[in-house]
Amino acid sequence: MRLEEKLYLLRWKHDRQSHIAITDPATCRDRCGKTWGRPCTTFCPARVYEWDPAEGRIVVYYENCVECTTCLVGCPYRVIDWRLPRGGFGIQYRYG
């Protein structure tokens, strides 16, 4: 089963504003790319982070976020500014 199909099963209440920001895109491009290979693009279970080689930056699909909070810890340079979605917004598990 592909990840897209898995995510399709989920229910969110989407906020218009993103709860995630990259504070220092240059670090992703240079230091992290060289040293770590941008692990957020692989460990994130909802593929929120994707490397855009043309733009030379990480694109953040915050609507996919399932709020596992791994990226708070797993970004080697801590340049992901992840905040809790506003009350009532974000993922709403039906089973959990």
Partner: protein
């Protein structure tokens, strides 16, 4: 701005927070229980095993109520896996699945349902549940915490004590100065899981169960693909929970994706037939605090206590967490009740919380396994080497090919020492023993 003051504000309506709220509300304290999800459980994920004793400590005889138990665990299996094989260990005794008073020892739950039910018990006891509300910060008055700032308009709430139970990677723990540094990647596991729907009769025939009975399987070895962690497969009433969790530090290093790891586990020859015909109902992911005792925050301060995942209260080896959370939540509640009696909510009185935890299994178990997280991070190879050795040894003994058993033993020992020299073996065994003794 509302100036009403409560006895306690509990942040997070999971097992820890709800247990604290129930305990305090039952004693007549005024309690607000904040939950950032649409309903309690909306944000919460767990493999799925809940422990009856710690539930009953706050909701007596809950099994006679309408609690959303999925299945009572009557059999626990551990599967040591290689790419294709399994060495299985198990314990089954349906009669002993209950404590003498009828309380189920362990049962499976789906957290979105369970947490809603459990938090409703807090409401029933008189706590005010406020969902869809994020506690963004604590409110200080000099060196004391006197409330929380919520994301709502005019959303400042005041209380004598704030009980922080906002889960893994607690934001409030740092705001309340109970934790100085963020959690480290080797102190966190990421677990992904699926809930797979199947008719109850099929589950019962596949797992050799009567209606209402359940099985847990933990899978070690190849299923984590060289990373420290384990997979799991639990039976619910009309679904299975199947998932896998590994250390974030290892995911960073190997650059494996968690969802591919889960697909791989589902395709394991011993797992696949159990899932056949099932319909995936939900995919979920959650971080698990695995740092143990050494990575815990301070547990109390002036006007504040912390419990559950927010305080690293997970015993990874025994897949326990919800029980530690509920016990800690209850003890936090009892501490606040005592503090109110004394009229002192400073750290001096709230230190009683830590003393209570030290007397209980919560801190005793966390102290016992305090060296295990370090070993798990440093030696993911143990999860690869030993399952293979065990598997090959069992395979050799079970293969009837005319070779005498003594020769087989010799061959097994040769194979073991070829892959792991006796000195390394001894060192590994010593390290493991030291971490779990």
């Amino acid at each position: 701005m509302s100036t009403e003051k409560f006895d306690a504000i509990v942040v997070g309506a999971g097992p820890a927070g709800a247990a604290a709220a129930i305990t305090m509300a039952q004693a007549g304290l005024s309690v607000v229980l904040l939950e950032r999800g649409e309903y309690p459980g909306a944000k919460n994920v767990m493999g799925g095993v809940m422990y009856g004793r710690m539930v009953a400590d706050v909701v007596p005889e809950f099994w006679k109520l309408d609690a959303p138990l999925e299945r009572v665990v009557v059999e626990e299996r551990v599967w040591i896996t290689t790419e294709e094989g399994v060495v299985s260990l198990g314990y089954r005794n349906p009669r002993q699945a209950y404590h003498p008073d009828g309380c189920p020892n362990a049962f499976t739950v789906l957290r979105a349902r369970w947490d809603r039910w459990f938090a409703a018990r807090a409401e029933e006891a008189g706590a005010i549940l406020v969902p869809q509300t994020v506690a963004e910060d604590v409110i200080w008055q000099d060196d004391r915490i006197v409330g929380v700032r919520t994301g709502r308009e005019e959303g400042d709430l005041y209380a004598d004590v704030v009980v922080i139970a906002d889960g893994v990677n607690s934001f409030l723990a740092q705001r309340a100065r109970l934790r100085d540094h963020p959690v480290a990647p080797h102190h966190l596991a990421l677990a992904v899981k699926e809930v797979i729907g199947l008719p109850p009769e099929i589950i019962e025939s596949r797992f050799n169960l009567e209606p209402g009975q359940g099985v847990t399987i933990e899978l070690y070895g190849a299923v984590t693909d060289g990373m420290s962690g384990y997979g799991f497969l639990y039976t619910n009433r009309d679904s299975l929970s199947v998932g896998v969790g590994v250390l974030v530090s290892h995911l960073m290093r190997t650059r494996r994706t968690p969802y591919e790891l889960l697909e791989r586990l589902k395709q394991h020859p011993a797992v696949r037939p159990l899932l056949t015909g099932g319909e995936v109902l939900e995919y979920a992911a959650h971080a698990i605090p695995e740092g143990g005792y050494e990575a815990m925050p301070r547990l109390f301060g002036n006007g504040v206590l912390i419990a559950g995942d927010a305080a690293m209260m997970v015993n990874g080896l025994h897949r326990e967490g919800s029980n530690l959370a509920m016990a800690a939540g209850r003890l936090a509640g009892e501490t606040v009740i005592e503090a109110k009696r004394r009229g002192d909510f400073s750290a001096r009185t709230l230190a009683l919380y830590e003393a209570k935890l030290r007397e209980s299994f919560v801190l005793q178990d966390l102290v016992k396994y305090r060296h295990l997280p370090e070993l798990a991070d440093r030696r993911p190879d143990l999860f690869r080497i030993y399952p293979h050795l065990v598997h090959d040894a069992v395979h050799e003994m079970l293969t009837v090919d005319g070779l005498p058993k003594r020769a087989k033993q010799r061959r097994i020992w040769q194979e073991i020492t070829r892959r792991r020299r006796p000195l390394q073996l001894l060192r590994d065994l010593y390290e493991i023993w030291r971490a779990v003794r």
